[in-house]
Symmetry: C2
Subunit: 433 residues, 2 copies
């Protein structure tokens, strides 16, 4: 048997503790896959005194990253600290001291990926990050290795488990957003401050990473158009259900007329299709490749052991040498002239509009007239007999035929500026397959 | 740019032609992923005169495998010939002459895997076979690499596109088996002799390969209990639908009391679950790992370009060195004392029975009595008012609670030997998740 590989684990939060547990409890199994034992030489955390239930000797746990980066016996480090700093400085320190790094930190890569990848390349090290996107689903390997023969046409993903738990629970219970958010917090599916999850930031950062792999271009995540789920109410869900759809927070990156169209926003997904059937805290990714056709992946996108599973797979890949090989060709794709001006790229799709129309004569004609002026034709309309007094706002639901994002945006601005509506229009994309 | 890698393509049938097309048409893209150009140095086929619409110079195509195996400039060979011989001899010839091999031939690996893997190891070569199971779905990489940190608990797959096309079309059209088989043959989804697909052989061979990866044990495929779809009729489908299920040909390998329980057979899959929602010629695989939890993959399991996509990904993996690394740890798992005596392993699950009962007093009591004697309790019963004359056979449908395979097998034998039935009972496993 070959010499053991010594690993440093930086960060002993939920994921870090899971990684230590998995490396220790499944040691024999992992040794067989790696061809040699993988041992946790040292763990670094903020509070060494806390009992995490790990079988880790006290003298192997400390608070100083240098205990990992300066230890020449350690060749691989798992960086499992969240946020941007000190995570960024820690990763640079590890790379500069010759460690290959495995991480689950998607915010760090989405924000500083180009810099960190460059530093790693300069030092001949690798960064492996399967766990940063969609937890245990091997989507990074799928795009970077398994679909390497394909020109990727599009990626659509449910990449944030918290949002999906909230949306699918709202739909099952007929409950409202605030109520379900409180439940999700109580159950541990949402953090005390859930804003990064529910405003789409988390999903957008993951989409930026996947797009780097699939299209070879680093898109600054903050430039990707993004809408969270805070505005979704149970009325919207009921209208969607009437039309045969469920509302999901969908991250999209798609080639469209030589540009890369990207967006994270709630969308209508047709009942019976894989995205619509993704429930609870699960993640899902649907990819279309020119050779392989449509491909779909579904699994737990977060949680201690699913994420640890991806981190440990990356540690094994690093130990055997696969990660180093893969990292050398990560993101080297020609961008095929794809424009980086994301905001201007058009997604051509059907749209669902909920318009808070005034209940008086001529309103429907006025609104459909505005849509017509922008070249948007209508597939179906739902307007119910209002229960309130004459003159109150009534929801008018319109499903359009396929149209470009900019046309629908202009039409909605026009409608909302007119005197026949009493509040902002909700406009959601429609995904039928 | 590094020197080109020269590849030999052995077999220019549907998949072989697709591989040549993909390597030539996506050459620039593939070069970026491989770090160097991959060129088709030579193709070998039976009929050099046939026009396959390939941009391959005539002097690069010949009929002799030695033109690949004896060419020292060729380092990788794609063996895309079906069946056992001459495929087996060809692979040995290629390995012995120092070629790394990529193949899509599942029958060859299921039958001769241990021998071929041993020859490859002896010569320091690799065999990559992503395309042999579930076409473009990267399930071999998922199990062998991405889920390496997991102890796999179970695999369930829809691994034969032809059978799935037939079953899902029967269900959509309310049509009978023979009729839909003829349609599938006309559409090219079934071969003139479809027996390997519809009798479960193809799915069983794929299950044997997946089990080698997931459980580290080579199970002779012919020892895996196997039932085809020939006995499925539209009445069975209607009864299943009444109970909320669809019938699918499901390959199962599952740890069960320290043994490996395996089976390929039609099963009831609950509507709304991923396996039941797999339609047409698609394949699907559901895996449970101890760390990652449930994971689901869906995509095109056959066809020219999806299979070529997997073959070319394997060629790239071989060129960059990943395939060689992966092959060294393929199937090295400890079998954890899993018994190889597959036939005796028990799957504990609910069962669906259709009994052709005689229409006379006391029959239901007699049949439920037999089930009770074998310790099997009943969850639900459907017996409809018979339309035929008194004394004719009426279908009696029983859904049991979970019970072991051997108990239900004995009970069915007992029922079929009794004088209250007029034909053989159909017994299908039930998959609820």
């Amino acid at each position: 048997m070959a010499e053991p590989v010594r690993v440093g684990v930086v960060g002993l939060g939920t994921v870090g503790s899971g990684v230590v547990r998995l490396l220790m409890e499944s040691a024999e199994h992992i040794t067989r896959h790696a061809g040699r034992p993988i041992v946790v030489e040292r763990a670094v955390c903020r509070d060494v005194g806390r009992d995490r239930g790990l079988q880790l000797a006290a003298d192997r746990v400390s608070t100083d990253i240098h205990d990992v980066s300066r230890d020449p016996s350690i060749s691989v480090a798992a960086l499992l600290v969240g946020g941007l700093e000190p995570a960024r400085s820690m990763m640079i320190d590890l790379l500069e001291h010759g460690k290959d790094v495995v991480t689950a930190n998607k915010a760090l890569l989405a924000e500083h990926g180009p810099e960190l990848f460059e530093i790693a390349r300069r030092h001949g090290r690798s960064i492996a990050f399967e766990a940063a996107v969609a937890g245990g689903i091997p989507i990074v390997a799928a795009i970077g290795e398994c679909l390497a023969a394909n020109r990727i046409e599009s990626i659509r993903g449910i990449l944030n488990g918290t949002s999906n738990f909230i949306l699918s629970t709202m739909e099952q219970e007929g409950a409202d957003y605030a109520e379900v958010l409180a439940l999700a917090q109580a159950k541990g599916y949402a953090e005390a401050d859930p804003s990064m999850d529910v405003d789409g930031t988390d999903a957008t950062q993951k989409l930026a990473i996947l797009s780097h792999l699939a299209f070879g271009t680093w898109v600054p995540w903050s430039e990707i158009p993004r809408t969270g789920i805070e505005g979704i109410d149970s009325d919207l869900m009921a209208f969607a259900a009437d039309l045969g759809y469920r509302i999901r927070l969908v991250a999209v990156a798609s080639r469209s007329n030589g540009r890369l169209a990207m967006r994270v926003a709630p969308a209508l997904t047709r009942i019976g299709t894989p995205l619509a059937e993704t429930r609870g805290a699960f993640n899902a990714v649907s990819i279309v490749g020119d050779a392989v056709g449509p491909m779909f992946f579904h699994g737990l996108g977060a949680g201690q052991m699913p994420t640890a599973s991806a981190v440990v797979a990356d540690i094994i890949d690093t130990v055997v040498g696969r990660a180093g090989i893969t990292f050398r060709t990560t993101g080297v794709l020609d961008t095929d002239g794809l424009s980086g001006r994301i905001g201007e790229a058009e997604l051509n799709e059907r749209h669902f509009l909920r318009i808070l129309a005034s209940d008086r004569p001529g309103v429907l004609s006025r609104i459909t007239g505005i849509l017509g002026e922008h070249g948007i034709s209508i597939a179906s309309v739902i307007q119910r007999d209002p229960s309130g007094a004459c003159g109150a706002a009534v929801p008018l639901v319109i499903m359009t035929h396929a149209c470009g994002s900019s046309a629908i945006r202009k039409a909605v601005t026009h409608i909302d500026a007119s005197d026949v509506v009493s509040g902002p229009t909700t406009c959601l994309g429609v995904i039928d397959d």
